[in-house]
Point group: C2
Chain length 411, copies 2
């Protein structure tokens, strides 16, 4: 157990160094130089742990331990390895590391599975570069079409394929994955909230993941000189955006049940101190455990947009993502709980307020998910931290669960 | 007259090509590659028109025609040559071109002035790179200290001196100019408003320039995950900024008398779609022809800031610029009007809603300013356009005025 904790801390430390903002948290955008460095490290560890490594046409990484059954579907374990700007060291990597260390335990104990074990490291879950998020899992399940993928652009107008080629990836490799090749998916993630820490419980077995939608709103007005355009002649794209954003919290609070609404990204054009803004583009992220709340907030947001349209202002909303609230697989839930009890690890049931790749894959295969506590409930910031001992506990639970799901036997 | 118009159009066309956003208006930030190209062109034309060229420690350009009196102060004519992002071809360059063409007429008519004539091309009037604006004129008059200049940073953290060296400028050259070396300053500018066009009058003689202040407001909140942080636990830096910006137009409208208030620039950090904004930084620009209105709006803005401080939000305001409303020199005003009448050019008196380098210099020397009509009143956008015939008219008025002010005689 101690060597496992040491290895986990080594992985976390090493991966946290692959950041575009040293000293200011982890900024690892998909297909960046930092992605390349993290990718090389993950692939190297996969090989060291006896896995066969391949990448797909999105740049997702798969490390496979073959099973004895011919053409049998794999048990996948993993998460994503991109980050938000100035994020932490755990959101994503903790789950990839859990996958790697389950594979290490398979190797250490010389297990031979019937069904293959695959450690996976997915791209662009956060959507920090190309918006929308969950791109790796939406890609392999076909929810993101190859054409939609090709047409994405980052804020500098660079396409995913251009960016892939730049770090030596091959976008012509296969993209969508045959569902017949997947038996189950296990994902470990930090909670990113305060519940487990407040309850002092080391493991959360995820029962459901909240539904989530993301919009990109564009407000088009008229540019003009800040000194010579009278107030009554203005069509100010930023003032209009501000009036809407100021009202969003109320829309979420009116729904209750933990419904949340966030504008995290906003760009002003041309963005000069003495130019009336012509265009403002911003994101809207709405989440709730009940689909009806999400629908109501969308409707109220659209009414708000309608009320500000006109008088030289044109507002458009583009829905970039819509995911229903998802429940996890009951058999795997039971297995995770039994394993935790057998290992004497206290656990509780929990809902996930964040979207995860497990949410996408739950429509296509049997999915189980574990949470470990987040210090002070913080995430998406440099202060994000989880205890490596909790991570090692989750690895033990996933190891025992994966042994059962792959029907592994000792040599 | 026709050759003058042709030369003016040539200058406008050439300078408009030095843009970082071809096809999307003029984006010529101070000390950029485009600054370097425009600078080389202006210096080349100064030499062609018989002027001695020098640059100062800010990168301002001076082209001097010596006078016969020893150590006599110069009559300056010119404007700035930087632009806002995605601005037009006239705001700034029209005034520099007017200066160049007055010098060309001096050369063509072989005039020998008693007092030197100096064509000037100033940097960073717009403040698009280093904020604050009017940097060239505030620099030569000493209103911007050398230390404050050194400590400025652009959005990428680059200092003015670093940027200067990168395009081959020498920041160690003299900066502040001795007031004894300046006799008068003439500036031509496009109106950037609709009045001259609506009245169908080709020339505006500027009586006064509105006062102007600029602030940088920083809202500090707490970052967090957009899905896992309940609405009631948030300290969202963007929502708070939006609530303030949504109320700014009302503050200006309550004052009336043409008072305006603008937020043109805004940056969100970390700016990820699923991260609650930790920091929002934005500009506030307040202008009025009456100083009391500016003071009242500042007070109300500070009250607003105070009302949103607390609950995990900290807001600070840094005043970057404060200029009182300014009246132009009465003797030069009379001279400009008499000259216009003598040349049979209809003119009207007008106030300037925009700040100009002439406003800064009016505290240190005798200043006169002319406006020419702006098509549709538009400025700070690619559609900005003025008729070259109107520009040629203004050159004629400035030529006759400069002859009188420099006491020039034909050889």
């Amino acid at each position: 157990m101690n060597s496992l904790i040491t290895r986990i801390e080594g992985h976390i430390d090493t991966l946290s160094k692959f950041t575009a903002t040293p000293g200011k948290g982890t900024t690892r955008l998909t297909y960046s130089k930092e992605d390349r460095l993290a990718r090389d490290y993950i692939k190297e560890k996969m090989k060291e742990y006896g896995l066969q490594v391949r990448e797909d046409g999105f740049g997702n990484i798969f490390g496979k331990l073959e099973g004895t059954l011919e053409d049998a579907p794999s048990v996948l374990i993993g998460s994503h390895f991109d980050s938000v700007p100035n994020g932490g060291s755990y959101d994503g990597p903790a789950g990839v590391i859990a996958g790697l260390e389950v594979a290490a335990l398979f190797a250490e104990n010389q297990l031979t599975p019937k069904y293959p074990l695959e450690v996976i490291a997915l791209i662009e879950e956060e959507g920090a570069r190309f918006s929308g998020g969950l791109m790796g899992s939406r890609g392999i399940t076909g929810l993101l079409s190859e054409e939609d993928f090709k047409n994405l652009r980052d804020k500098d107008g660079i396409s995913p394929e251009e960016a892939m080629v730049k770090i030596g990836l091959d976008p012509s490799l296969p993209k969508k994955r045959d569902f017949q090749t997947i038996k189950a998916f296990l994902e470990l993630h930090i909670e990113q909230g305060p519940i487990l820490e407040e309850k002092n419980i080391p493991l959360g077995v995820v029962e459901a993941i909240v539904g989530l939608t993301q919009f990109e709103i564009t407000v088009e007005g008229q540019a003009g000189h800040a000194g010579t355009t009278p107030m009554e002649r203005r069509s100010d794209a930023l003032v209009t955006a501000a009036k809407m954003i100021a009202q969003f919290p109320t829309l979420a609070i009116e729904e209750g049940d933990g419904t949340v609404m966030t504008t995290g990204q906003l760009h002003v054009y041309p963005n000069g101190a003495n130019v009336i803004p012509k265009t403002t583009v911003f994101t809207v992220d709405i989440r709730s455990s009940k689909e009806e709340h999400i629908q109501t907030v969308i409707r109220k947001m659209k009414d708000l947009i309608e009320s500000y349209n006109g008088d030289g202002i044109h507002i458009s909303a583009r829905q970039q993502l819509y995911m229903r609230p998802k429940t996890m697989n009951q058999d795997i839930l039971t297995l995770l709980k039994q394993t935790s009890s057998a290992l004497d690890l206290p656990y509780c049931s929990i809902n996930s307020g964040a979207g995860h790749d497990a949410m996408v894959l739950s429509d296509f295969t049997e999915v189980g998910m574990l949470f470990i506590p987040s210090k002070d409930g913080l995430s998406h910031c440099p202060e994000e931290w989880s205890d490596s001992r909790h991570l090692a506990n989750a690895v033990q639970v996933f190891y025992e669960t994966a042994k059962k799901l792959t029907e592994a036997e000792e040599k």
